[in-house]
């Protein structure tokens, strides 16, 4: 009995510390990454999705609030900013290729960005989604901080946009490859660009683990579409709300 009390005291002490949640996050990610590599990088075995799933189950099971968990996990979250800056490095490395393809990059960006916004709007109307939710969904292909800013401008709910944006990233990373294979697209620049444009950072992480060129074009599309979306959504929004 005494032993059990002691264990409980240790648990209460540890779960209040950021270290515990930091360790749990890295541990679950290592499991996800191990399975991803074991599956020979099969897209459905996405390491991000697996670790999110594992951690969420643990938090629900232990009845821990997200805020408590984030206390520890924020140290990992913090590195997202510097990592975004670091995306300049692979783009620089392939700069000659980027320069050579600059015309098709420009047009694919405009077509892709408009397609992402309009396809979302049409599907939402078909499913009779509430306006507030639609506005929160329109910028979903941009990286989360950009998408949240746009959502606020057009009358969406920024925190809902954050949820939708991350789900978009996971969908792109998990199922994007199948769409590309189905269309028999072989050009790695095009495959990477499509993934990065539609599913931002999470898609880019997946592209980088598969192929260097695809990773670079995905990172490029992530940056460019962040900018394109913040210009196009407020513009298209005025036209779309007429329907």
């Amino acid at each position: 009995m005494l032993e059990k009390d002691k264990l409980y005291i240790i648990w209460v002490y540890l779960q209040a510390e950021p270290l515990f949640w930091l360790t749990l996050t890295i541990g679950c990610y290592l499991i996800g990454d191990f399975l991803y590599k074991k599956s020979k990088l099969f897209p459905l075995v996405n390491p991000v999705a697996i670790s999110i799933f594992l951690i969420s189950i643990i938090l629900v099971f232990l009845d821990i609030s997200y805020e408590r968990y984030f206390d520890g996990a924020q140290f990992i979250h913090f590195m997202l900013g510097p990592a975004t800056v670091a995306l300049a490095i692979p783009i620089y490395k392939q700069f000659e290729l980027v320069k050579k393809e600059s015309t098709s990059i420009f047009f694919s960006l405009i077509f892709g960005s408009v397609f992402a916004i309009i396809s979302t709007f049409i599907l939402c109307r078909l499913f009779q989604i509430d306006n507030e939710v639609i506005f929160s969904m329109l910028p979903k292909s941009a990286t989360a901080p950009i998408a949240m800013g746009i959502s606020e401008i057009i009358g969406g709910i920024p925190s809902l946009t954050a949820i939708i944006t991350v789900l978009t990233g996971i969908m792109g990373a998990t199922f994007g490859t199948f769409a590309l294979d189905f269309l028999k697209l072989k050009d790695m620049t095009a495959r990477g660009f499509g993934i990065g444009l539609a599913s931002h950072g999470i898609g880019t992480a997946r592209a980088m683990s598969r192929n260097e060129t695809a990773g670079v074009f995905s990172a490029l599309a992530l940056g460019l579409n962040g900018i394109a979306t913040s210009i196009l959504v407020p513009l298209l929004f005025k036209v779309l709300t007429l329907f």
């Binding site: 990610y29 991000v48 975004t84 950009i146 789900l167 978009t168 199922f175 900018i227």
Partner: protein, 125 residues
């Protein structure tokens, strides 16, 4: 490595400052990305010496951080799962719409780009 991290942080800080100063909607890190890219292109002519060493340091450190890019999305992703109830009655429909429009966008964009690449390459020849 520490020098490289310092420089990457400086670029992000500069990005954040520019964002605030011009009140633009683009996140600080994305502005930092653009600035770092421009700087690397500018420094291209340094083929040896201290600048080249520093560039190599930044490249290695940056690539190391990027090899764990997936991990960095986990904390925010857990928040998404914990807050899914937010979507209430719309949940299934919204997830389906996200799924469909995302894979359609990926396919469409990549298709356009592959066709454009082929056409432009043919014209150059």
């Amino acid at each position: 490595m520490l020098r490289a991290i310092f420089i990457i942080f400086i670029f992000q800080l500069t990005g954040e400052a520019i964002k605030k100063f011009f009140e633009i909607n683009i996140p600080g890190p994305v502005i930092g990305l653009i600035l770092l890219l421009l700087t690397l292109i500018y420094l291209r002519r340094f083929k040896k010496g201290k600048v080249k060493d520093l560039k190599e340091d930044i490249t290695n450190t940056g690539n190391y951080i990027l090899s764990y890019l997936s991990l960095l999305f986990v904390p925010i992703g857990v928040g998404v799962v914990m807050h899914l109830a937010f979507l209430e009655k719309n949940l299934i429909n919204v997830i389906f719409i996200i799924f469909l429009s995302t894979i359609l966008t990926i396919g469409f964009t990549a298709y356009v780009m592959e066709k454009l690449n082929k056409r432009l390459d043919a014209r150059k020849r």
